[in-house]
Every structure is written in structure tokens, then in C-alpha cells.
Assembly symmetry: C2
Homo-oligomer: 492 residues x 2
């Protein structure tokens, strides 16, 4: 804990890894590629979950739970339909069984036995869910189905990084079923809007809404909406996706319904998800060389109070003031913690709370008692002010709002100054190597050009922005005609 | 859906299975022994989760998340220490990998490859968690650790039943670490109290708090607290357990700390959990031959409003009244749904809401509009009353409280009349075959007697009640001396 954090300028990737561990967000586990999400990190994730869950319910969705395992045969039915679908996975082949407790001595199985059919640990749940929906849907009266699941999923990734790419991660996956194509398309767009609103308003991270190109789409999707954010190092991060799946899964799992005219038709589908990857986006959008910076909406506690004292008498007088402040703040729904540990000096406490990104720190010392003041420090700007005790609640309340807005604004300014319009391939390469960020450029719409640019620069098309203006131009690589700009970037 | 529910008298087990499916709580999936928890069932589980989570946090606990997989070697370290520990499990032996997307063509792995070390899908998380705690604990300053996890676990059971015993289930598992034996014992007792309060007050299910005998204890526990409930068919159901683990896991995973005197000592541990099994307890405590009966605290919606109309004009007038009632009820925090489907007749709606256990039904017809009344029906007693529209909110509010209390009282009466004090083995066997329920009897304290009784009658010692009075007597089987009664029953 004591060793200083590597600075971002020195090594951004190292800074990130150290910060995640030192700020008590997560750590690697004994299982290759699987992380432990520590209580402080999990408290942030819980706040994200609570807000998203509320938004899902407000838009008419219900939660349900489907099995962790997918029989291999179902998985293969899906793959036939959507080649390249979730190829990384863990496979259960064996089981161990105890003797049947109710029939002592009767059942005796080998310590390990082979499963009749191997099971895939779900990398995503389309297969098991659509196999289930088949039993739920007979007629248009059974539609729409608007279901979400909070779950763990496993993708056997070769190279992993805490939150950004882990073999097991937590996410939510919405899976909806509709009567018409239009309804499903609207749902996919709606949920991408929900994600954008959540990430911008709650996490203070600006995003660009767009569509994925065919090569970047989820296998099985006919259209993929996404939200793309820009990290401090100029790399993009896909923060959420919402897929219009057409009738692909309905066809793969034979899910038909009797429509209003009494005819049989395949059901239209969407799926959409965000994951603990958002924790990575949060860290790489707001944090600095001193550690985590948290938007007040996501802070496990928004205010920390640190007493500065030399003896018990001082401590007690300060505690009394602190308790009053705490009760006033709590009444206004502000979460606050009193750091009364006697095993650490104030300076060490300050450093720890800075590292952990607590938005506001109140320090109270003997001089403050005399003056009826406290010292308030902002984590985001690292500025301090002296506040009259009587005004502390209202000041804190206003500051929290201000910090939430200011973090968004700062990130938005950074993002907007890191979108560069580029019209030739030399500039394209130069920008990628110097300023980085998003490159807004014309593209001829072919997968060949996209692949070639990726091969030459490692940049991919992050999205075709929903608000892209019609503009005549020529492809930055092939010189062929194009009628709008798309966004390229290197990405996480 | 249309076929009538089997009655409890006819076949209790069949009644249960049918009810779970017909009331839209859960169903079997394509994966042997794994269930799908449907939206209506999951909404009930979510309410349990929310209340328990609040209670855990009020008692100082934080949530975290640990890996789904446990390396086999860790698992074996644990087994050495606690023989018989979670023997049923699923084992991951293989993985599939996609080509590394960032290095096209470079990495090419067989479609399926064998893991270097096999992974167990967690049946419970002591092993992975104590292996992690080792890194978190150096000194008494790092203690206590009061952590809970909401997760899915897998136990490869031979015979499964929806909610009661499934290969995968959802649960929470608390894992705490303490400086002293007393603190850990207090924690185990505290969490058993939390469970008892939750199950009684929130779920309206009376429980008996007690200790497990050594043979019924969790492997690795030195003392197991439990709450035992009685189902309508006279069988007991263990609704929650809280284990004092001594220093067993600390020793197995070498977790030591420097105590206040600067000496190295092993950490003291507890673990405690409840699962989706509670859904089974809920169903088998309150429900009847018409379907589910839900305590208002757990109902996805507490009130359903059914309009009775012959034409659009009537429907609109009724809707207007209904909307007013809904807004008044919502203001008081009562959840309510307006069933305006035009595809079902009122009678069919009534049957469905009875089947799904909605605590109160409000029916509004043309006659009610004239009289400014509505009809209110209670699900638990199947009684109806006419209520003046002006008074509806307060009547509903009072009725919901009354139902919650009345369900508990009814279950308590049933339970209390099904505890029989027995002093000889002939009576013991007769009671088990006729009246069933708990048998309160003297036991000589030996595992031999316990085993013999189990073998002869299938009854096990459910618990040694915490409030058992000192009473001289002789063992109901062996005739040896005993100083208190324990509770026997057949159990789920």
C-alpha cells in the first residue's frame, strides 16, 4: 500500500493495474484469468446495478434466471446459425457424486464420472434462453417477452486484465422477443439509449452512440447498436452493446408464434448487455496519478470525515461535531463515513481516501473547533476550502452536484478535443501515433478496407455514429466514394 | 394452465411440482437438474434478496465477489481438513480458445484443449475465499472481515426438485474472519438470529433455532446453528445455517495474523447461507389447493385490480376509478397491477391471480360504479367484502398487514400442534407414520443412536433447540440418560 502509484505518463497500463489493486477494487485470484472483486470495488458495481436495474424496470423489463450451463448440442445449434459465436469457453466434462444420502449404501459411483453430454459454461445465454422461450411462446398474446438476467459468464480469454478482460465476469444480459421487426429494432435502439443515459448521467462518462460495422458485430446480430467511450490514453472502450438479432435465434431454436392473422411466424429478437468492464471505463475516464476519482453517484461513501487530534479530549470534542455533521448529511441522503481509526495518522488517511477516490473529505482539527469551521477538500480538483460549520450541509450538497457535472464536462472536453477529422491515410497514421483518440474519416463501406486499415494501424471502426451527417467524401484508404464519416480508434 | 391443480391430500409432492410450474415460478431446463427461475418467481426471490441484503449491511457486512471456479488443488486442501466436504460437483477439464484477435494468425490452438489443472465449479466458496483472505490478513488491524457474496453454486445432485434441490442454485454465503473464538461464535449466533428474524417476519414462516448434531453438521464446522421450519405435509425443512468454523479453514489455508500481543495466531471463521430453497419453504408453508398464497411482503404485486365490463364505455368508466385507486395505493407504497387484458374473462383472471397468490384482488363492475363501492377478495382466506370506494386505501393497507400476521399465526399454530413429545420408541414410530411433524424426544447424545433411528424411521435430528429446557429423561431409543429433548423429523 505504501509504495507510490506509477504515474499515467510513465506507464498508463501499469498505472491502471496498480490502481485497481491499491484502491482495493479487485485482484487476481488463484484461478487463471478470474478476478476477486473486493468489497470497495463491489460496492461501486452494486450502485451501477441498482441504477441500471431501476432503468430496466422503468422500461418494462423483468428479471429472471437461466442455467449456468449450456448443453453442447444447443450451443452447436446456435453456432450453425451464427458462425464464430463465442468461441472461447470452459467445458464441463465430469462430475463427482456423493452416495445418495437417503439410500445409504445403495448408490455408489466412481469418484469422477464422465457426463453423457458435455456442458459449456455460458459465455452468453442466447442458446439456453431461446431454447426456453420456445416453451413460453405460442401466440402473439405471449409477446413481447422483456427479460433481463444478472449473471456471471465465462470466456476463456488468453490474455486477461482486471475488469477489462477476465475469464469470468459479471454482467446483465437482456433477451427480448417480439411480434414484429420494427418492435425489435425499436427495443434495441431504446436499450442503447438507456445505456447512454446511464453511462453519461450516472457514471459521468460521455459516449458516442452508433452502429457497429458488419465485421465488428456480435455473431448472430443483424444490427448492433453500441456506446463508445474514450479513455485518457486515447484508446476507445466499447461500454455497452444492444443487438437486433432478427429472426436468427428464433430460426435456430424453432420459436414460432401464431400472429394476429392466425399465421405462424418466427419471433423477432434482441439482446443487450453491459458488464463489470464498465469499472475499467470508470477508472480510465476520471482517475489521476493520486488514484481513483469517483463521481459522487458511484462512490461507496461520498464524504469522509477525518479528525485531527493530539489527545482524547480533542478527539471527543471533534467526534461530537462530526456526529452532528454526519446526521445532517445522512438526512439529505448523502453517504458519509467517520474515519476514527487510531492506527493511522491524518496524512496517511488523506492519502488512502485520495487513492480510493472519495469525492469529498472533511477535516476537523482543534483550530476548527475554536473557529466553528471545517476544512473541505475536493478529490477531483484537489482544492481545499474552509467552510463555516453552520453551512456545511448545503455546501457539501452543492459540491457533490458540482463534482458530478464537472467530471462529465471535463471528460467531454477531453473526448471532443480528441476527435480528429482526417482526410488522407498519412494523417490517419500520424494522428494514431501522436494525438490518438477517435479519428473521424470517410470509409468505403467494405470489410476489405476495414481489415486492411486494422492490419496496418491496429485501428478499428468503433462505430458509425447515429448522428453522422450526410457528407460526400472519399474513403481515407481506398479513395472510393463515401457519404458519411465513421469513427476509427485503437480500442480496449 | 387450464388443467386443475392436483390437491394436496391427493399427492402433496405432485401438488408442489405442479404449483411451481403453473404459478410461473420456475421450470426445468434443458440442463439436467438445473432450473429456469421465471420472472414471477424471480421477483419473489429479489424481494428476499433485498431484505436480507439490508439486514446484512445493518449488521456491518459488505458484499464482494469471488471466482466461480476452484482449482482442484485448493479443493483438496480443504477436503483434507474437512472430510466429506461438498462431494457432489461439476468439473471443468477443457477449454476452447479463439485465435488471439490482436495477433491474427499467430496463435492457433486446438478447438478443445485440456486444462493444466482441473477446475471445480464452486459448490460453496470456503476454499477460494480463504485462499484469498490469506493475502488480506496480516494483523489484528485487518480483522474482522465481514463479507457476503450473492452467487450461483453447483452441486451435482442425483435427484433434483425445483427450488428444493437443484444442481445449480442461487444463494448468499457469508464468510467472516475474526480475532477471537468468542467473536466468531457470536457472529455465527447473530447471523442465525438474522435468518430467524427474516424468515419469521418477512416470509411469515415460524422457525425453531437450534444447533445441529455432529453428524448433521457441515463438514469443517465445529458448531452449526440452524433454523428449522415445518412444512404442511409434516416434513421439516432446514431454512438456513450459520457455521462456527473454528480455526479449521485458517489452518487448511495457513491464514495467520499478528494479534495485539504481537504473536502469530490462526484466524477464527464463520460461514452462513440461505438459498433459493427458501422459495420451496415459502410455497409449502402457505399455499393451498387453489395455488400459491404469498405473504404481502413477498408478493411481486400485492393488489390486482380486475375490471368487469361488457362494453368500452363501462371499461373506460371503471379504468378511471381504477387509476385513482392505483395512484392512492402507490402513494402508500403498495404495489398494484391493473389487469386490463381483453383476451381473458374475469373468471379466468380470478383463477390465475389465485394460482399466483396475489394477496388482494379488487373487482370493479358497473354495479360498483353506481354504488361507489368495490369488491375486495382475500387470497389467504378466500373471503370477499364490499368496500366503500372512499375507504379503499386504508382498508387495503390494514388488510395487507392483517394477512401478513395471519399467515404467520396460522403457520405457527400448525407447527405448534405438530410438535409431539414422545417418550418411547413405539410412540415415536407411530407418530411418524400418522401425525408426522416434529417429535420432541430424549436422545443419548451418540451418533450410533442417531444413525440407528435414521435407519429405522428415516427421521433425523433436525436440531437441539437453543431454548431446550434442562430435563432429566432417558433416550427414546437406547434408554440411556439424557438431560434435554431434541427435535426429530423426516426432512426435505
Amino acid at each position: 500500500m505504501s509504495k507510490k502509484l506509477t504515474s499515467r505518463a510513465e506507464d498508463y497500463s501499469k498505472w491502471y493495474n496498480e490502481l485497481v489493486v491499491k484502491a482495493d477494487l479487485a485482484e487476481n485470484s488463484a484461478v487463471r484469468g478470474c478476478m476477486v472483486i473486493k468489497p470497495y470495488g463491489y460496492a461501486i458495481w452494486e450502485k451501477m446495478q441498482a441504477e441500471l436495474d431501476k432503468m430496466f424496470k422503468e422500461t418494462g423489463h423483468q428479471n429472471a434466471y437461466f442455467p449456468l450451463f449450456v448443453p453442447k448440442s444447443l450451443f452447436e445449434a446456435e453456432e450453425k446459425n451464427a458462425e464464430g459465436f463465442a468461441k472461447e469457453c470452459a467445458i464441463v466434462t465430469h462430475y463427482r457424486l456423493q452416495n445418495d444420502p437417503d439410500k445409504p449404501g445403495k448408490l455408489r459411483v466412481d469418484p469422477e464420472a464422465k457426463l453423457e453430454e458435455e456442458l459449456i459454461v455460458r459465455p452468453t445465454s442466447e442458446a439456453i434462453i431461446w431454447n426456453t422461450y420456445k416453451g413460453w411462446i405460442q401466440s402473439y398474446r405471449d409477446l413481447p417477452i422483456l427479460v433481463n438476467q444478472w449473471a456471471n459468464v465465462v470466456r476463456w480469454e488468453m490474455r486477461t486484465r482486471l475488469f477489462l478482460r477476465t475469464a469470468e465476469f459479471l454482467w446483465q444480459e437482456g433477451h427480448t422477443a417480439h411480434e414484429t421487426k420494427k418492435e425489435a429494432l425499436d427495443e434495441a435502439a431504446l436499450m442503447n439509449n438507456v445505456y447512454a443515459a446511464f453511462v453519461e448521467k450516472f457514471m459521468a462518462i460521455p459516449v458516442i452512440q452508433g452502429l457497429k460495422t458488419e465485421s465488428e458485430r456480435f455473431a448472430g446480430a443483424e444490427e448492433t447498436y453500441c456506446i463508445e467511450a474514450l479513455m485518457q490514453d486515447g484508446k476507445a472502450l466499447q461500454a455497452g452493446t444492444s443487438h437486433f438479432l432478427g429472426q436468427n435465434f428464433a430460426k435456430a431454436f424453432d420459436v414460432k408464434f401464431a400472429n394476429k392473422e392466425g399465421k405462424q411466424d418466427y419471433v423477432w429478437a434482441t439482446s443487450w448487455g453491459v458488464s463489470t468492464r464498465l469499472m475499467g471505463a470508470l477508472i480510465m475516464t476520471h482517475s489521476d496519478d493520486k488514484g481513483l476519482v469517483l463521481p459522487p453517484n458511484l462512490a461507496p461513501y461520498q464524504v469522509i470525515i477525518v479528525p485531527i487530534f493530539r489527545n482524547d479530549e480533542q478527539f471527543e470534542a471533534i467526534s461530537k461535531v462530526a456526529e452532528d455533521v454526519i446526521s445532517d448529511l445522512k438526512e439529505r441522503g448523502i453517504s458519509v463515513k467517520f474515519d476514527k481509526r487510531d492506527t493511522l495518522r491524518p496524512g496517511a488517511k488523506f492519502a488512502q481516501h485520495e487513492l480510493q477516490g472519495v469525492p469529498l473529505r472533511i477535516a476537523i482539527g482543534p483550530k476548527d473547533l475554536e473557529d466553528e469551521t471545517v476544512e473541505v477538500a475536493r478529490r477531483d480538483t484537489l482544492t481545499k476550502q474552509t467552510v463555516i460549520l453552520d453551512r456545511i450541509t448545503v455546501v457539501i450538497e452543492n459540491l457533490l452536484e458540482e463534482i458530478q457535472e464537472s467530471l462529465f464536462k471535463k471528460a467531454l472536453d477531453f473526448r471532443d478535443t480528441h476527435i480528429t477529422e482526417v482526410d488522407n491515410f498519412e494523417d490517419f497514421k500520424t494522428i494514431l501515433e501522436t494525438k490518438t483518440g477517435f479519428i473521424s474519416a470517410h470509409w468505403d463501406g467494405t470489410a476489405e478496407t476495414e481489415d486492411k486499415i486494422k492490419e496496418l494501424t491496429k485501428a478499428t471502426i468503433r462505430c458509425i455514429p447515429l448522428d453522422a451527417k450526410a457528407e460526400e467524401g472519399v474513403c481515407v484508404y481506398s479513395g472510393k466514394p463515401s457519404n458519411k464519416r465513421v469513427l476509427f480508434a485503437k480500442a480496449y
